[in-house]
């Protein structure tokens, strides 16, 4: 669908030695869901911009130009217009045939749970509903590739969960390729593949389960504050935890997760 081959990006006034992205290669297939993780300034937004075609690479090749829709951290809708008017505006801007618009609006409204809010002005919606309206807008253009920059940032737990469900529906029902940047590792773990960026370079790229398996441990025993956690195999975890409890320590056992992958990969920059 789209392929980046040894793509680098250096912004004007930026030191050539520290580009925003350095020699990144990446291939995205139709229907794939990819999460992009990394600390602030690691190049996540630049990568999304390259995929969306709004950032031009300094070097390297970008092949393929899928119909792309972008959802930003902020709601990119006109607050004076209703949800329906915004959706129709974008459908027309993206040259969606008039005959297809109503069906697409109905489907997008159903997926985003906004069927009864289409006549509400966007400015009157809560943050969570406005974000869902933005996702509805993104669906109206019939994208092959959907790019989201921290889609659930700043939302309460219920809205956060709702956005996650909408993204799952995109993948399962519409087979749209989804690429999203996130700081939430539970969100990142929903993806088929995780791309970890640090200082403009890919430091890991694989399925979440593979990245977790590559850690070399399956369980983490969290101990009282100030004491380092113990990382071990699942088989060793209960024995080790029992030993700590017998010694009078309080502890809890959890499965290794993408959080641990992140801490391991980004440790030096935290």
């Amino acid at each position: 669908m789209i392929r980046l081959d040894r793509v680098s990006k250096t912004y004007p006034n930026q030191n050539d030695d520290r580009p925003a992205l350095r020699e990144l290669s990446l291939k995205i297939e139709a229907g794939e869901m990819i999460s992009v993780i990394g600390p602030n300034g690691s190049g996540k937004s630049t990568l999304l911009g390259l995929l969306a075609g709004v950032v031009a690479p300094t070097s390297g090749i970008v092949e393929g130009k899928p119909v792309c829709s972008v959802v930003l951290q902020r709601t990119a809708l006109d607050p004076l217009l209703t949800v329906r008017e915004n959706a129709e505006l974008f459908a027309r801007v993206y040259s969606v045939a008039k005959a297809d618009r109503q069906a697409r609006l109905s489907e997008a409204a159903e997926i985003t749970g906004l069927a009864d809010r289409l006549s509400d002005r966007v400015g009157s919606l809560s943050g969570g509903l406005a974000r869902r309206a933005d996702l509805l807008r993104a669906l109206m253009v019939g994208p092959e590739l959907l790019i989201l920059d921290e889609p659930a940032a700043g939302l309460d737990r219920a809205s956060h969960r709702a956005i996650g469900d909408v993204l799952d529906a995109f993948r399962e029902r519409l087979k749209i390729a989804v690429v999203y940047a996130t700081h939430d590792m539970a969100d990142a773990a929903r993806a088929d593949r995780v791309i970890a960026l640090r200082e403009g370079e890919v430091v890991a790229q694989n399925a979440p389960s593979v990245l977790i398996a590559e850690l070399g441990y399956e369980a983490v025993i969290e101990r009282d504050a100030g004491l380092d956690p113990i990382r071990c195999s699942r088989a060793d975890a209960s024995r080790e935890a029992s030993r700590l409890i017998e010694a009078g320590e309080r502890c809890s056992v959890r499965q290794a997760s993408l959080e641990d992958v992140y801490d391991t990969l980004m440790g030096a920059t935290l």
Binding site: C68, S69, V70, L72, R74, E88, R92, V93, Y94, S95
Partner: protein, 256 residues
């Protein structure tokens, strides 16, 4: 074409849902026309050596039409800053619509209502005792159109260059309002001090104001002569090209 019309329609819908913008745009020039025209009726008409006390108000009218167009353009251009900051412009421009069409939609979307809001003041010319012929009226409408196209394009270009609406207000006060004040809207520039005459003559906003005034009274501009019309055309066309180049090829906003 449908995309451009959708974006134009959006601008009109926004204006319709902010009626205060329409009231402020037409109301302020109307109040100024009445206050200044009536307030200085006797004194300035006396200085001008004309018996009709409505003469100064008739002189003011083209400048007030320019003001209506200017206000409407400024209010409209603020939407460009909002669109850029919200990311709306970025997601529009990530689509297949050429950036030139997006800019043209802004110019038409903001310009058409601004043109009509300026034109609302035109019938006052008959009330003020000036009776232009049909040709003169058509020329006055054309001058108003070119004036509006130029002002909208300049406003959009300036709005694109600033970082916030606050900065745009500062630009409005330091660039656009002085341009209007120095356009000969209040005073006969050809009779003013030499330096002022030059300032008015090189001010692009004076060109359409002079073209509009000369259309209404059927005489050549005493300041610019027969140059008022060609200069007005250059101002309008140049402003559109600069707006399209600046906004169409400029950075479209940040992803985050």
């Amino acid at each position: 074409m449908d995309a451009t019309m959708a974006l134009v329609g959006r601008e009109w819908l926004r204006l319709w849902r902010q009626p205060a913008r329409i009231v402020a745009t037409v109301g302020t020039p109307m109040v100024l026309l009445i206050a200044l025209g009536a307030g200085f009726a006797g004194s300035i008409s006396g200085l001008m050596g004309v018996g009709d006390e409505r003469a100064y108000a008739a002189f003011l009218l083209p400048g007030m039409m320019a003001m209506a167009s200017l206000f409407a353009s400024i209010f409209g251009a603020i939407s460009l800053i909002e669109d850029r900051d919200s990311g709306l412009l970025l997601v529009i421009m990530a689509g297949p619509t050429p950036s030139g069409s997006v800019v043209m939609a802004k110019i038409i979307g903001i310009g058409a209502p601004a043109f009509l809001q300026a034109l609302i003041l035109l019938p006052a010319v008959w009330i003020l005792g000036v009776y232009p012929s049909l040709t003169q009226t058509i020329l006055a409408i054309l001058a108003t159109l070119l004036l509006t196209v130029a002002i909208v394009s300049v406003s959009l270009t300036l709005a694109w260059r600033v970082k916030s609406t606050q900065e745009f207000h500062a630009i409005m006060n330091t660039v656009l309002m002085p341009m209007w004040l120095l356009s000969g809207s209040f005073y006969p520039a050809s009779e003013s001090a030499s330096a002022m005459r030059w300032l008015t003559a090189i001010n692009p906003l004076s060109w359409p104001v002079e073209a509009l005034r000369s259309s209404l009274n059927g005489l050549n501009s005493p300041l610019l002569g027969s140059w008022a019309w060609p200069l007005t055309g250059v101002f309008a066309l140049g402003s559109v090209l600069i707006a399209m180049g600046t906004i169409g090829l400029g950075k479209r906003g940040k992803l985050s």
